[in-house]
Symmetry: C4
Amino acid sequence: RLARLQQKEAVEFKEHLDNLNDGVIAIILTVMVLEVPLPSQAGVSYRNFMGSMFIFLVSFFVVANFWYDLNRMLLVLNRVSKKMIVNDFIFLAALSVIPMLTKWMMLEPSSLAVFDYGIAYFIANLMKLIISANAWEEFFNEVEGSPHMFSMRLGRRLLIVLIINAVLIFLAYVMPRWDLLAYLLLT
Amino acid sequence: RLARLQQKEAVEFKEHLDNLNDGVIAIILTVMVLEVPLPSQAGVSYRNFMGSMFIFLVSFFVVANFWYDLNRMLLVLNRVSKKMIVNDFIFLAALSVIPMLTKWMMLEPSSLAVFDYGIAYFIANLMKLIISANAWEEFFNEVEGSPHMFSMRLGRRLLIVLIINAVLIFLAYVMPRWDLLAYLLLT
Amino acid sequence: RLARLQQKEAVEFKEHLDNLNDGVIAIILTVMVLEVPLPSQAGVSYRNFMGSMFIFLVSFFVVANFWYDLNRMLLVLNRVSKKMIVNDFIFLAALSVIPMLTKWMMLEPSSLAVFDYGIAYFIANLMKLIISANAWEEFFNEVEGSPHMFSMRLGRRLLIVLIINAVLIFLAYVMPRWDLLAYLLLT
Amino acid sequence: RLARLQQKEAVEFKEHLDNLNDGVIAIILTVMVLEVPLPSQAGVSYRNFMGSMFIFLVSFFVVANFWYDLNRMLLVLNRVSKKMIVNDFIFLAALSVIPMLTKWMMLEPSSLAVFDYGIAYFIANLMKLIISANAWEEFFNEVEGSPHMFSMRLGRRLLIVLIINAVLIFLAYVMPRWDLLAYLLLT
């Protein structure tokens, strides 16, 4: 009986985690628009408004893209372990600060802003990779074997992500404006 | 196995997209009320309050109406393609700026405000039509054939929407106040 | 085929409406807490803070109570008509202004504030009754007959709600403070 | 028929309550980030920004942890009673003020702030225990018997939680800074 309960637990937690992910990302997507200042307010020109709008749209599609990737990864799973849930929460925490940092970065492309954005973006990407690795590992465990080749490919991808992000974070100190452009192109 | 996984993927993505749509639209609907100023604040008369309330209710039902239309269209589908997801995100982005632009337009019915509202409204309507076209196309693909006549009717509707919106956006320059009224009647 | 599609449409819309209801009410419940001022801010005493906290908790349980009633009513249904959706949206619109009006009423128990709260509260209750009536009507339609006695009981309840609310709204003009107390006891 | 309806009601309410829980907690998690001030604003140093960020992250994981515990407890149930729903709402109300109080406590570690946080934290923990007790009680009722030993263990745990919280709340008066540290370690 307890075994059956644990089975049920793992399956239902998957569903709840999916709901929470969708909910958190829906809020991240939408709440950003509240911070766009209206041109009818004092000291806000139409140019500021358009800039804020552009920041909103960039953040919107960055987060939407993460939503797509996350859901693709979690799709292969039928259940979810505690480790996965913790990883997912770290991912959501990193994701929820991205809009705020995007805004800061665009308002004032200083080294510090681009650097912080780089860190958050890096953590979100790292967690995405780890969740992806966990997901595929469990997927292959459920069936048969030899996910060896797969794990090597993953390791290579992890390395590439690490290097690109290290370079970008370093660049933030030297030339923040060009680095900002690189981030925009990348997303 | 991989084919089965892809099948499952397309079906489950539909569910997630539905959840995200419902979540984003629920937030758009509710978060607007936070921006209504209370009459107990300094410099806010009861008349301002009633005006804000009216703007809130108009935006509420405009967005609620889009929710109804979107759900009707997505209902015919059992799965969802990547193209559909991207279109849906553009739709959501346009939808989430509508409350903000409604507010601006009502506070200050200038050409610029009505023009921007026109653009957002037009994009939302355009994406709605495109999603509708995709949905019906896929629906007929799943069964048998000859969606030819149907696609012609759709093309005609697309043309009508394009023309009406072009006229309304043009009018925004000439007489913003009347144009605002036209938008209110239309929704 | 089209008949089957319409059947599916009515059933799935029920699910989407439930999701939207839960989402909107979850946001109304939570977003209120953002407006409570912290005592560390200038000009906010601990007494103000406790007052705001009390307002938050009252609104929280008023809205939670509406959530409970709404879900009980919609539970008897398997599908949902367009009329029901429109009624539900009016209900949600009235519900989403209640926290704001609660805040105003508590900050400044003037006639106007209590009067407006009375109107919103009345609309929410009225829509609740109408949705309830629709739901039971459809429920009895699905099975067999003679919902006559039932509809009479409902009519009586409608009359009672109308009278109580009319009296309370009228009292708002004469003695707002006592009326506010009556609302608090009622919820 | 009515018996079948009540059966269905209890099962569906469980689902709705789960949705509402996930929704409310998703919003609590995400909305906190909006209150982090950007360093580009006047009078906000990078140090303030990092402090706010740290508060955000602590609150995020405290709430995420409550989410995990709540879902684990509700998982054993297939249906839900009215008492459970009321308890759940009190839990959500306590949970939704925690982020705000965390912020206050960190900005200004006064006796009052730590004391209030202690109260909210205590109520959330208490409700968690009560919901847990209810859930296991119902779970054992559904099957066979003798949850006696279990209820004793629960009583002991309840006592421990009560004592720890009483001590912590008392400490808030004597040495708020050390007490704050104790809370951080505990979560």
